[in-house]
């Protein structure tokens, strides 16, 4: 699906630009986008190096397994196929808590560490496991208690009550997260069932991805 979205975005951009006469802007945007990609990664270096170092101390001290056993029941409900005392659980927990507290730059390294731990349990290293999909679902909808950036922006434009959106944000994020978890559950259950008539469609799917890789 990512292959398709990527292809559609690029091809449709060029086609639309042909109509709108923005071909120059599209060319410029392509290279600007590439620069942004590298800039974002460079920005991540310091954050990842620092947090991964700190998290290793926590792991060596046994803090992560302690966290895992403390808040285990909730995580076990969401990630039934991850073994009880696996370090992945500890990282998932820290990722979720960091998200909750709005510590965005700590949440990403912890999420990546959780992914790396989940990858160790993955029999097929190129295909996402259900646990990975659940972790992603939780992170894309990201429950946040305090949208700090937004409050700061509202303050700078002299809002009478900059924090008034905390409640609405919390409600909206709760709905989005619930939707993500339910959808994830639904797909997980559906993909766990033995395939009945998928022979044709999966063959077609692999043709598509092969064609994309070739192109």
């Amino acid at each position: 699906m990512v292959n398709w979205i990527w292809l559609i975005m690029i091809v449709s951009s060029v086609m639309v630009a042909a109509f709108t006469g923005r071909m120059d802007a599209v060319t410029e945007a392509a290279f600007d986008g590439a620069t942004t990609g590298v800039t974002v990664c460079f920005g991540l270096i310091s954050v990842l190096v620092f947090w991964m170092g700190l998290m290793r101390i926590g792991e060596d001290a046994g803090l992560l397994s302690k966290l895992a056993s403390l808040l285990g029941p909730l995580v076990r409900l969401l990630f039934p196929d991850v073994p009880r005392n696996h370090p992945a659980i500890g990282y998932i927990m820290s990722n979720m808590s960091a998200n909750l507290l709005g510590l965005g730059n700590a949440a990403t390294p912890m999420g990546i560490k959780a992914m790396q731990e989940l990858q160790k349990l993955n029999p097929d290293k190129e295909t996402a496991t259900p646990a990975m999909c659940t972790l992603l679902a939780i992170n894309t909808s990201s429950i946040t208690l305090v949208p700090t950036t937004l409050i700061a922006i509202r303050m700078s434009y002299e809002s009478a009550n900059p924090a008034e959106i905390v409640g609405t944000t919390l409600a909206a994020t709760a709905v989005a997260t619930a939707a993500a978890i339910l959808a994830d559950r639904w797909y997980r259950r559906r993909s766990a069932k033995p395939p009945l008539h998928t022979g044709g469609s999966s063959a077609a799917g692999s043709n598509h991805s092969a064609a994309l890789k070739g192109g």
Partner: protein, 177 residues
Amino acid sequence: MYQWITVISTWMIPALIAFIPLYAAFRKVPVYESFVDGAKDGFGTAVSLIPHLVGMMVAISMFRASGAMDAIVAVLEPLFAWMKVPGEVLPLGLLRPITGAGSLAYTTDLIKVYGPDSMIGRIASTIQGSTDTTLYVLTVYFGAVGIRRTKYALKVGLFSDLVGFLAAVFICLLVFG
């Protein structure tokens, strides 16, 4: 309440930075060596993300610059207008899952133009704060471990973005209306 939460957020990171090594030292962990050992992985992880993020950012950037995004907004507008979604926030709903920086810039602009305490300003703030950038999260998390086949993860992420967007609009209309 808000005061409390801001105090907690400002204290959280320094407290963690101090607490983790302190606890580890009590458990006889060589803290600095342990830190350096773990930190080594950070650089490689960040660098391995470059191809993924460059690929995504190029597509997103082209998509916005070409006017393709505006075309989709124009097509969708009547449908969302029928659901009482203000047309001004619709582009934000489309931007939010694909670019964090882009949607933040758009939100800031809406707040600047309509005012932070207008309905549009409030809805925009709520949308921006309530979900994360699905495409970025997917690219970074799966890119970091080399997953190619992402199965249903993108569908779930985009579905929750749509639900979150509509929830943000309706909750704001209900609370501030």
